[in-house]
Structure formats: structure tokens, C-alpha cells
């Protein structure tokens, strides 16, 4: 009765993708959520995407995940960031209707075959007699559920502690109960836990903003979403608003610093450096007399708005004063106060690249529980965990995402190889092969994998194949055919060469006698331009990827006892022993393992191999 193939604990962005992927791949799946209404909640910004995160969202879509589709359906504004930079770092971003996002996600879970949803809090992991294999979970009501694969996606709920000024209370998010017992259960089974901190800003009533004192930021004229081949009509009719803090704001914060939980000494967890609280910004960057504040609407059917840039843990009366000092917000009424939250996460050297724990067979961890931050980062891990749990059930080869092929791979490899000492967020600069890992070609990179796994529908797959066919046809034509119909050309010139010129765009080719066929959509035109214009760079990037692949395929036997290799520095041996890299490439990326250690490892492996073959 209570027996499943896969159990997922938590229905945030990670849990949803894990459960949907598992169910879609044919596994009988059960997902637990503490409160049904909070399925797929956007606990921070009502927004998806941005640099690297937008890339990730499109990759999740290409692999058959759900996040991008729902982001497109529930989007209220779309912008392509970094347009002024090159195409590799263009980054789609959306503002979303928070309530609608949750509702659509709930519907997706409800309508999914093979998937049950239960509202319940899970307190304990049940292991087999050997204490090395997972068997199931136990709820706070004492119910037991069994499955050979359990995926934990608890977000910030493990011993979550909310801080507002000198007030502190146990919660997983404001107003929702924390999961206090599960942490102890995880410690008991041998996993190492540590503590992080994050925060969120106040929300205000948009009707109380003085629109004359803020700068309106509308969406793009030609909005682009995240999802491929779904023809979702994008709603793009709401604006954000930009304003700034000022010396008065900073004075209020500075003179009340001791009252904030962070500076009052109540918080021990480590917060993200890339997303500092307003207290941190004012203290650490005291030279700046203003900081950006973005007012982001929370949805189409509410007046609530998110005050991006003012995350804090100050007492309510100070929060009010601070908000009211900001231009345009003098009369703003606060709907929810900002807060800081501390929570347990599991040190990511406990997991493998499949997201499975190293010590408990069948137990997978995904999302913020691994020390990451961000919806997209969480969803990516959930997807990988769901896929690998089912592959393991079916006794198939695991699906390891490689950092030269996707941001997903970068994220996964960073986590399991380098770990993290602050909530981990993806950046484009973390990707060595950034020029290849673009938001425009995520389908080309990953859709074949998604289709093979059974996560991409036939309809979408056919559309993808059609796109490829048209793309290849046109590239072939442009390379083979010359134009001789333009007064500027002294002699016939191949269309490909004409398009390579920086000042020529695809549509300019018409002047040179190239007939743009009806099926060459704007998307395909962009892909063609990009491939031709940046061909030199793409080729160089591919050469680097080849080199990388060689190191990645230089495998290290799983039974290697690093502690015995005395030519490697002792600290490096310990690191290697902890991470247990699968290839020399991965070994070389472990912090604290330097090139001399890698060389020694290489020499050792070669000698060992020779010794073995001599026997």
C-alpha cells in the first residue's frame, strides 16, 4: 500500500522536478509537502532567470523539466538581460505571478500519472538492517512509507530559524513550520550538517508608491521566454520600478545596526557574499552613498510588491523607517517584513554527481539542502536526482552532466568537487566553456538527452528536428552559394562570408539576393548568424572542450587508496579521499589539490597500471 519506487520529500523547485522526472520515466512516485498551498513557492524574488540562471532554466526545459514552462505561463514581464554584451551571456529573465506559479505547479503534480501528493511532514529516514541502504520515511503522524529511492529536497526547512531584530522563531519560511526532527535523523545516519543563512526583503503595497519618484522599467518589446517548442503566449504587461537608497537610509541603518539580528550577534550561519543584506551593503561599502532598489510586482491579481535590494533582519519599526526614507517609498505601507533565516544544509562532499549520498545507498539530496541558493539551481538538482534515481532502479548507467556540455554540469561538478562555503549560486564565469553553453542552444545541447530519457514529448522532439533540418539546410546553402547581385561587391562572394561582416545582419542578406524562406524563423536566423559570425571563437572553444574531455576520460580506479600515495601531500590525500574523484580532470579541480599532487597521482596510476599488467 505505502510502497513506491521513489519518494520525494519536499515540493519546492527541487522536489517538483525530481518527482515529475521520476514519474514521467515510469516510476511509481510519491511526493510529500508540508502545506499543499506552498507547492513550488517562490520564497524570494517573484522572478526567474538572469545571467547563468536563465541559461539553467532553458537547460531544464530542454531536458523535459517543468520550471521553464510554468515560468512562461505565469510570467508578467520578460526581459533579455546583457543585450549590450555578446550573445553567450544574454540572459532571459522574467517577473512572475507568485500565487499563479504555485497553482500551476500544483496542477502539474496533480495531473501527472504515476505521482501521488501527500501533505505531511517527514521526521525520519528508515534504513535497512545494514544501515547502509534506504528503505523509506516516517511522518510526524507515525505513518511509514517505503521506497528503494528517497530524494530529500527540504530547502531551508531543516531546523529553520527566522530572525527579525531580536525576535527569533522556528520556521521553514515565514509562517510555515520548520522541519526539526529530520535533521537529527540525518545526523544519526552519518551525514555531516552545517548552517547557512539567507534573507528576504520587505513587501509593500504597490498603490502606496509615488510613481513620479521612481523609474519605470517595462518588459522587452519582443519578449522571449524560457521554454522551447511550446508556443506559450507570453504575458508581458507589467513593469518594475527602480529607485535608490540615500545617505538618510544609510544613517538609519547605521544607527540601528545593533538592533539587526545580523549585527546584534544572533546569527552564526554564513550568508551569500553575492546577495548581501542592506546592513552588509551599508557597512562593507560605506563609500557608496546609494544602492539600487528594484520594486517588483508580485503578481497580476495583487498589489503586493517585492522591494529587491533591501533584504534585512532589522526590527519592524526600523524596517518601516528605512523603507520610508527611500525616494518614492515615503508613504509605502509594508505588507510583510523582511527577515533572515538560518537553516541546516548537508555538506555537499557527502554526495556523488548523481546526487546520491556516498554513505547511504538510494538516498538522494537535491536543492538548497546541498548548500545552494536559487530556484533554478534547486530545480536542476531535483531533475538530476529524479533521473538518476530511476536509472539506478532500472539498473542503467547513471546520467552524469558534464561541465563542458551544460550549466547543469557546472553546478553539479562544482558542488561535489569543490563544495561551497557560502550558499552556492551559479554565475556564467563559473563555466569554462561559456561561449558554447549559451541560452540559445540549450535545446541542441540537451534535448537529445531529454528525449532519450523519455522526458521530452514527441511533439516537441519533432519540432526540434524540424528546426535542425532547416538550420542545416540554410547553413549549407549560405556556405555554397555566392552573391553577385550587389553594387558593393566587386566580385561574387559567398553569403556566409557576407554574413560574417560585423555590420551585416541576417535580414540584410536579402539585399544581396538571398531569399529568406518562410520556414526560416527569427529564432533560426539568430542561430545561423551566431554560428557564422562567431565561428572562430566557437571552434577555439570546441578545441578546449576536446582537451577537457581527455582529462575527464582519464579515469581513476574506484579502489584507489589515496592515503597510501606518499608522493602526494598529506592534506591533498585527505581531500582526494573525501571527494573520491572519478577522473584526473575532476581531481585537478579539487581545491587544495595542486598540480604537483595531480602529477604525482598520474605517475602513481601509471606505475600501478604497469605493475598490474606485469602481473
Amino acid at each position: 500500500m505505502n510502497k513506491y519506487d521513489v519518494i520525494v520529500v519536499g515540493a519546492g523547485h527541487a522536489g517538483i522536478e525530481a518527482a515529475l522526472a521520476a514519474a514521467r520515466m515510469g516510476a511509481r512516485t510519491l511526493i510529500f509537502v508540508i502545506k499543499i498551498e506552498t507547492i513550488g513557492r517562490m520564497s524570494c524574488n517573484p522572478s526567474m532567470g538572469g545571467p547563468a540562471k536563465g541559461h539553467l532554466a532553458r537547460e531544464i526545459d530542454a531536458l523535459g523539466g517543468e520550471l521553464a514552462r510554468v515560468a512562461d505561463i505565469t510570467g508578467i514581464q520578460f526581459r533579455m538581460l546583457n543585450r549590450k554584451k555578446g550573445p553567450a551571456v544574454w540572459a532571459p529573465r522574467s517577473q512572475n505571478d507568485r500565487m499563479q506559479y504555485s497553482a500551476v505547479m500544483y496542477r502539474a503534480l496533480e495531473n501527472q500519472d504515476n505521482l501521488d501528493v501527500i501533505e505531511s511532514m517527514i521526521d525520519e529516514i528508515i534504513l535497512d538492517g545494514d544501515n547502509k541502504t534506504v528503505r523509506g520515511v516516517r511522518s510526524n503522524l507515525g505513518e511509514e512509507y517505503f521506497a528503494p529511492k528517497v530524494i530529500l529536497a527540504n530547502g531551508t526547512f531543516l531546523k529553520g530559524l527566522v530572525h527579525i531584530g531580536n525576535v527569533h522563531f522556528s520556521a521553514g519560511r515565514s509562517g510555515e513550520p520548520a522541519s526539526n526532527k529530520l535533521s537529527d535523523s540525518l545526523t544519526k545516519i552519518g551525514l555531516k550538517l552545517a548552517r547557512f543563512k539567507t534573507g528576504t526583503p520587505p513587501r509593500i503595497d504597490l498603490r502606496t508608491v509615488n510613481m513620479n519618484q521612481v523609474e519605470e522599467q517595462p518588459g522587452d518589446e519582443n519578449p522571449q521566454g524560457f521554454s522551447y517548442y511550446r508556443n506559450i503566449t507570453l504575458r508581458n504587461d507589467m513593469s518594475c520600478y527602480l529607485t535608490f537608497t540615500n545617505p538618510e537610509t544609510h544613517k538609519i541603518i547605521n544607527s540601528n545596526l545593533k538592533k539587526s539580528s545580523l549585527y546584534g550577534g544572533y546569527i552564526s550561519g554564513i550568508g551569500p557574499r553575492y546577495c548581501p543584506s542592506i546592513e552588509d551593503k551599508v557597512v562593507k561599502f560605506s563609500g557608496k552613498d546609494r544602492h539600487h532598489v528594484f520594486i517588483e510586482p508580485e503578481g497580476a491579481n495583487t498589489h503586493e510588491a517585492y522591494v529587491n535590494g533591501t533584504s534585512n533582519s532589522l526590527p519592524p519599526e526600523i524596517q518601516k523607517k528605512m523603507i520610508h526614507s527611500i525616494s518614492g517609498l515615503h508613504n509605502a505601507s509594508i505588507i510583510r517584513y523582511g527577515y533572515a533565516i538560518e537553516y541546516d544544509y548537508i555538506i555537499p562532499d557527502e554526495i556523488k554527481a548523481t546526487m546520491e549520498t556516498k554513505i547511504i545507498l538510494g538516498l538522494y539530496l537535491a536543492g538548497q539542502i546541498n548548500g545552494t541558493s536559487g530556484y533554478e539551481e534547486a530545480a536542476a538538482q531535483g531533475l538530476a536526482a529524479g533521473i538518476n534515481a530511476v536509472l539506478a532502479l532500472d539498473k542503467k548507467e547513471p546520467m552524469i552532466f558534464d561541465r563542458s556540455q551544460s550549466y547543469l554540469g557546472v553546478l553539479m561538478d562544482d558542488l561535489v568537487t569543490k563544495g561551497t562555503n557560502e550558499p552556492y549560486r551559479l554565475f556564467t564565469s563559473r563555466a569554462e566553456y561559456r561561449l558554447f553553453l549559451r541560452q540559445d542552444n540549450a535545446d541542441e545541447r540537451l534535448m537529445p538527452i531529454g528525449y532519450k530519457l523519455g522526458l521530452v514529448s514527441d511533439v516537441r522532439w519533432q519540432k526540434f528536428l524540424t528546426m535542425k533540418k532547416i538550420f542545416n539546410r540554410e547553413i549549407k546553402y549560405l556556405k555554397a552559394t555566392a552573391s553577385n547581385k550587389h553594387p558593393k561587391l566587386k566580385e561574387p562572394m559567398k553569403f556566409e562570408k557576407i554574413l560574417k561582416r560585423p555590420e551585416i545582419s541576417f535580414s540584410d542578406l536579402a539585399e544581396f539576393g538571398y531569399k529568406i524562406q518562410g520556414d526560416v524563423t527569427e529564432d533560426i536566423q539568430n542561430r545561423i548568424s551566431l554560428n557564422i559570425k562567431y565561428e572562430g571563437y566557437i571552434k577555439r572553444q570546441m578545441a578546449e572542450i576536446d582537451k577537457f574531455e581527455k582529462m575527464e576520460h582519464s579515469e581513476i580506479p574506484t579502489d584507489t587508496d589515496y592515503m597510501k600515495i606518499e608522493s602526494i601531500a598529506y592534506e591533498a590525500r585527505e581531500k582526494l579521499n573525501k571527494i573520491k574523484p572519478t577522473s584526473l580532470g575532476q581531481a585537478s579541480r579539487i581545491p587544495g589539490v595542486n598540480h604537483i599532487d595531480v602529477t604525482s597521482l598520474l605517475v602513481y596510476l601509471k606505475k600501478n597500471k604497469k605493475k598490474k599488467s606485469n602481473k
Binding site: 555578446g86 551571456v89 539600487h292 561559456r434 577555439r540 602529477t599
Partner: protein
Amino acid sequence: MEYSHDTISAISTPLGIGGISVLRVSGDKAINVVSEIFKSKTDIKNQPSHKAIFGRISDAEKLVDEVIVTVFKAPHSYTGEEVIEISCHGSTFITNQILQILLRNTRLAEPGEFTQRAFLNDKIGLTQAEAVGDLLTAKTRISHLAALQQYEGSLHNRIKKLLTQLTDFRTQLELEIDFLEQDLDEIDNDNLVKNLTTLNRELDQLAKTGEEGLIIKDGLKVSLVGAPNVGKSSIFNSLLETERAIVTPIPGTTRDYLEEVISLNGYLVRIFDTAGLRATTDQIEKIGIKRSYEIIKNSHKVLFIIDGNENKKEYNTLSKLVDENKIIKVLNKSDKFNKIELQAFKKKGYIICSTQENSGLSKLKNSLLYNIEISEEELHAGILTNARQIAAVTKAAKSVDKALESINNGMGYEFTAFDLKEASSALEEIIGKVTTDDILNNIFANFCIGK
């Protein structure tokens, strides 16, 4: 057998009869192994590090040689392990006999293994490991100084400085790409271009030291070209006569050309007397001329020698083969011409000399080092001395070039960042931060056993 745990030994001086020979033993057992066969007033086990002790080496009570033993205790030794150096009398027989005794309890070192251990034990960096090779083969004062500088890390520091600059630029670019929402100042494009241009100049300058570095290490190659009987051989000989000739490092194979090595102002100069470039039907001569072509092509300077007849045909062939500014035109037998005639040759750029009267030769010699000599200042700043380093710096310079191009074409900063990362990786290759199996294999294979 553990990789760097066993004790190794080898003869460290070149084979052959010399005043003394040195054997080196490295590893945990070094002191024990030697104390078994070495008899002296004091036990070497109780000796402080870096002290030389006189005594005798015996094999089963039979005296082999009187020797000096020096103890270097770990980690204060070349390899970072326990090291013993034995200086014995320089006879092949004695040296080999001592090695045989040592090999009963130690393993014969592989080529370059001492240096490899020094590298693996973090005693020296990659540039330094290479410099050891250069230091050991240094033949002249300047090459010795260059190798020493590299060994002491001046090149390492010079590259590190360039890397720091690159890292700064890359940081700026990444900031702009990933943190656009942070209200940061935008990159000052003009300033970036200016700084990258300066960096590029520095890289070019460094790359250029490589040409000079190679000359310092392998010698300046000068070939002599001219028709028969213009006095090539007498110029060849007078260059040798006035300067100390050095025994050529190239084994005596059959050659169609003559090669001699001299030291000129501290530079190693290798002079080739070639068969010339004229056309011939003689089969054997043809082979000789083919070789001459090769030598001339690889020369840093070519002396084109005439004795009056300008020999335009051969000069044209030559100028197609090598860059014209490498050619030094020489008029020999100046005693045969009058002042006006000589003036005309001078105007055409000829150096006037006469081996017969021993005149004009010092001018000729100075012309060899023209544009070659490197300042001691540059030497101290660190120069490149092998092809691997030159290739890496040239690659870095090329990448910075591309970075500038990407900015000028308005490509987008991620492309500029890509180029600069490529430049960084190239430089990291030199100082051994990122290294590949192949590079290491090459480095260590180029060392002779025992060094």
C-alpha cells in the same frame, strides 16, 4: 615499490676520465647504505648536514678508493630527501665500481629523476626544473648567468606579474558580465584597450628575449657563404685563431661542412663553413649543397663573402633563403683594391677586411653580435630560454591581440574574457600551474641520468 620512496643512486658527472667524479644517492636509506661501505674517523650517521668527511670506500674489506662524502639531510637537500654525494677519483673503472656497490641496496636513477623528485617535493618549480638542465650544460659566462637567473626564479616572478595583470582585467570583465544589477561603474573601454596594449607590448618583449635566450643557450649560429677561393676558410680560421675555440658538443659524424665553436664577448658562437649555394651536377656535391641550405636557413647571421666580384646570382639565392637583415656582406682581400674602390664597396654596405693583412676582423666580429646582445638588466628581469616557453608567451601575446580585436569589433566582453583566459592559461603553463603529462615527460626526459 612506492613511487618516490625508494633510494636511488647514479653517477652525476659525465662519464670519462676527469679529476674527480661524483656519485649521488637520494632517498630514506641513503645515509645507511653509504655508512655500510664508508669507513672514516667519524660515523656519517652522526654527522650534521652539509659537512664533508674524508674516508675510504671498501668492498668486502678490499679498498676501492679514498673519497670525500657529503651528507645533506632532508629536507635541506637538492631532492628534499636524504642525499649523499660521494666524490671519488675520476676514473671510469673506480666510479663504476662504487656505483655497482651502491646498486646492491639502491636502484639506478632514471634520467632526470633527481630533478623530478626535487620538483615533486616542491623544492623547485617547473621553470627552475628546466633551468637546472640549462645550468648544467651552460658553456659560457652569459649562458651560465641566464640559467642561474631562471633558477633563482626571476622568470617565474616576471610571468607571475603578467598573470596578476591578466587576472585583474579578467576580473573586471567577469564583474561586468555576471553582476550587471549591482550598480557598478561600467568598464572604461579606452582604458582597457590602453592597458591591454601595454600588456601586449610587455609580452612581445618577453617573447623576444626568447630568441636571445635560445642564442645564449644553444649558441649564435653563423654560416659562411661565398664562391670558392674568396677566402672563406681563411676568415673561418682567423675567427678561430683570435678567439678561444671550444670543443664542439656535436659528435664527429661525417659532415659536408665545418663547424667550430668560439666564445665571443661571453656568447657562444657556432661558425659553419658551408659548401655554398651554387648549382652543380655533381651528385655528391649536390647532397652537400642541400645540407648547406638547411644550415644557412637556420643561421642567425650569414657572412656573404666576396673578393671583388659581387656574385649577384648567389646573393639573390641567399636573400630568398634568409631575411636580408641577417646577411652581413663582407669584402675580403681588401689589400687588392684602392681607396676609391673600397669606398664604393663600403657604400654598398660591405664590411672591408683582409685576412692577409689581419685588418677589419674586429669590426667583422662585432657585426656578428649586432642586434643580438642582451643587457644584463634584461637578464636579471628574467628571460625565456627554451622553445616551450617561447611558444607559450607567443601564444599569450596572440591571445591578448585577439582580445584587443574583440573589443575593437564590439564582440562582447565574454569573448574578450575568453581570449584573456587563454592568455592566462598559456602563461600558467610556463610557471607550472597548469601542466600536462606530456610537458612533464619532455622536461624530465631531457635530463641526463644523475643530474
